[in-house]
Amino acid sequence: MSFLDIEGHDRTDLEATLDLADEFIEVLRRPIPRVPALQGKTIAHIFYEASTRTRLSFERAAKALSADVMNFAPSGSSVSKGESLKDTVLTLRAMGPDLMVVRHGAAGAPHRVAAWTGLPVINAGDGAHQHPTQALADSLTIRTRFGKLDGLRVGIIGDIRHSRVARSNVAAFTALGAEVVLVAPRTLLPVSSAEWPVTMSESLDEIIEDLDVVYLLRIQVERGGACVFPSLTEYVSRFGLTSRRFSAMNPEAVVMHPGPMNRGIEIADSIADDERALVLDQVSNGVAVRMAVLFRLLGGDRNG
């Protein structure tokens, strides 16, 4: 069994993982936040794309379950000598890990790794396809705040077309009973979106007061919005979560962001630190859901 995308898992299964993550949150609050559940297991972290938070979160999760971790990054490795992904993961498999966590710039790469190695694989982000553990962390964050996702309206705002976070979150939030509306300029909304279980809007102002969760995606400032919208200023004026828009929100509604944030672009500086911005909860919950996924895939002993 692997954990490659959200669609492969039904509501019962997703909720079981979230319930387990709730238990691990309690573990993480203990004076010695560690259980021996996966003692003797080895997890290979294979990150072909730069990642700090996701890699560290997986590492923290593995260690809290007492598993050993092997880290692999392509720079300075045999990959720079032209070794293929297949040869690399077969080589790593020969060192005996029990599970692989894979991040790769190409959609479907973790699926190939699972097929080649026969090992359980967790997708830690593949191209613009999926980032399923992020979706679980975000689902847990919303569930903790509101008690459930049923009936909530979640707005996802930003570069949805190129976002793996958007794809896995849409799948997870809707599977758990929330309604999702995507908000972006047309060039950042998905094309041919008949299969997306969502509604779409090109105006944040029109819908902001109806949202329970305002979920902001990172705008790739390094691309300067090249070719997808005319200027960052224009983006902020239409889609940035400014103080004015924050005041228009329902007082119970919350703000989320998968990080790293561009303060002053998709989110105003002051809002990022507001009590209703759950950004850091998302990060802490990320560790707990990754513990839950690891535990379930490796058949850890619950009473260990």
Binding site: L85, H111, A128, V191, S192
Partner: protein, 422 residues
């Protein structure tokens, strides 16, 4: 004594299918019917004897990429698929952009001797889209089909000049229609599947915009224009309208575009990655309908071998293309409603005419060159092993109907299916 007596089968003649024996000797069909009496008996009971198939579009990889394929292995794959002539695309290393390179390819084909290897020539030097290739030399070397296949000639002014030059020589421009801006480095068809997979994708308009532009240039220059591997329904409409207006336009479709759709890419298995990409079910149905109506003239394989280690990578990193010579006949038979005469028309008669091959695509008759495909229209089989050096076939493991059993090239039996006649 003649060489072969093809006995007990049905022959595709100008009067349709006729049950008759065929006597082959001295490289030609010596007799059909009662006069066919001598030669080694080839049991053709239940089989149909038609003209050898002609492929307008194959990548043979020689010279330069012989680990994927060479002219020997491609020739074996061709005759195993019932083909007696195949056009070698010019995107070799070096590309076929000068006369001596075209001669090398036809000479190697002659040396192998299993089928006719017909070189095509680049439109632009090194296929870089900047300057005209040595069109005169290529034409002198016998090239009639010019293409930068793998990429479009994006510069309309350059294509206009190429068309003017090629028109004067009586040749044909074959365009791989793919606007680079709209294609945007895409890996699959832009549609519901790419949307959800988050893969960079090529819209159908990447093809149709180039075809629309080129048809205007064909009208302007009078050059014969051929659309390679049509994949989008809207392109069919453009071609139909151009034909109605009397433009000298022809088109081909690849077997995989008749058979598969973007749905196959949900697996993210690179064996479904090719350009143009697998499109929607509506597009595939439009391809089948256009082939049946004749708006699309020919089936062409776009045979594109890649070694296993090159193709067994994540989808977005995989090279483009799939092999097709050995499964083309069965794919067409399985996916379309064409009758035997129409299959031979689209896979032999018309492609031979488009490429100007006088010894191929001739309906069997006394005195005609014995380039023949003998096929079983109804055999069910599942491709697993290939004569090609590469095995990157989306048809591997797929149950198909129809199979080439014997192939004759200039009177010689060059292919006998292992299970045939036993």
């Amino acid at each position: 004594m003649a060489d072969y007596l093809l006995a007990g089968g049905s022959v595709l003649t100008r009067d349709g299918l006729v049950e008759a024996n065929v006597q082959v000797g001295n490289g030609t069909i010596e007799a059909i019917g009662a006069d066919a009496r001598s030669g080694e008996v080839i049991d053709c009971a239940g089989l149909i004897i038609g003209p050898g198939l002609v492929d307008l579009h194959a990548h043979l990889r020689e010279p330069g990429q012989e680990w994927k394929e060479d002219i020997g292995s491609a020739s074996r794959a061709a005759v195993a698929g019932g083909f007696t002539a195949i056009l070698a695309m010019p995107n070799t290393a070096p590309p076929t952009d000068a006369g001596h390179l075209a001669r090398y390819i036809s000479d190697r084909g002659t040396e192998v001797g299993l089928c006719e290897i017909v070189p095509t020539g680049c439109i632009t030097k090194s296929m870089e889209g900047q300057r005209l290739a040595h069109l005169d030399e290529l034409s002198d070397a016998g090239v009639t089909v010019f293409t930068d296949d793998g990429a479009s000639v994006a510069d309309a002014g350059l294509l206009r000049r190429a068309m003017e030059y090629v028109a004067e020589r009586g040749g044909l421009i074959s365009q791989h229609a793919e606007d680079p801006g709209l294609a945007d480095g895409g890996h699959m068809h832009e549609g519901t599947v790419s949307s959800w997979l988050g893969m960079r994708a090529l819209p159908s308009e990447a093809e149709t915009t180039i075809v629309a532009r080129d048809l205007a240039l064909a009208e302007m220059t009078g050059c014969r224009y051929h659309v390679a591997h049509v994949s989008a329904a809207a392109t069919v409409g453009l071609i139909a309208a151009a034909k109605q207006n009397g433009l000298p336009v022809t088109a081909e479709v690849a077997p995989h575009h008749l058979f598969f759709t973007e749905e196959a890419v949900r697996t993210m298995n690179p064996v479904y990655k090719m350009y143009p990409p697998l499109r929607s079910e509506a597009d595939a149905e439009a391809m089948r309908a256009a082939l049946e109506s004749g708006v699309i003239d020919a089936v062409a394989t776009d045979h594109a071998p890649h070694a296993a280690h090159e193709k067994d990578v994540p989808f977005e990193e995989a090279p483009r293309g799939v092999i097709g010579l050995e499964t083309a006949f069965a794919a067409v038979r399985t996916s379309t409603r064409l009758d035997p005469a129409a299959i031979f028309d689209r896979m032999s008669v018309r492609p031979a005419r488009i490429a100007g091959l006088s010894r191929h695509g001739r309906i069997p008759a006394t005195g005609v060159a014995a380039n023949l495909a003998v096929v079983d229209m109804d055999e069910q089989w599942t491709p697993t092993k290939f004569e090609s050096k590469s095995a990157n076939s989306p048809f591997a493991g797929v149950r198909l109907t129809g199979r080439p059993k014997y192939t004759f090239f200039e009177g010689a039996l060059v292919w006998r299916d292992q299970e045939a006649g036993q």
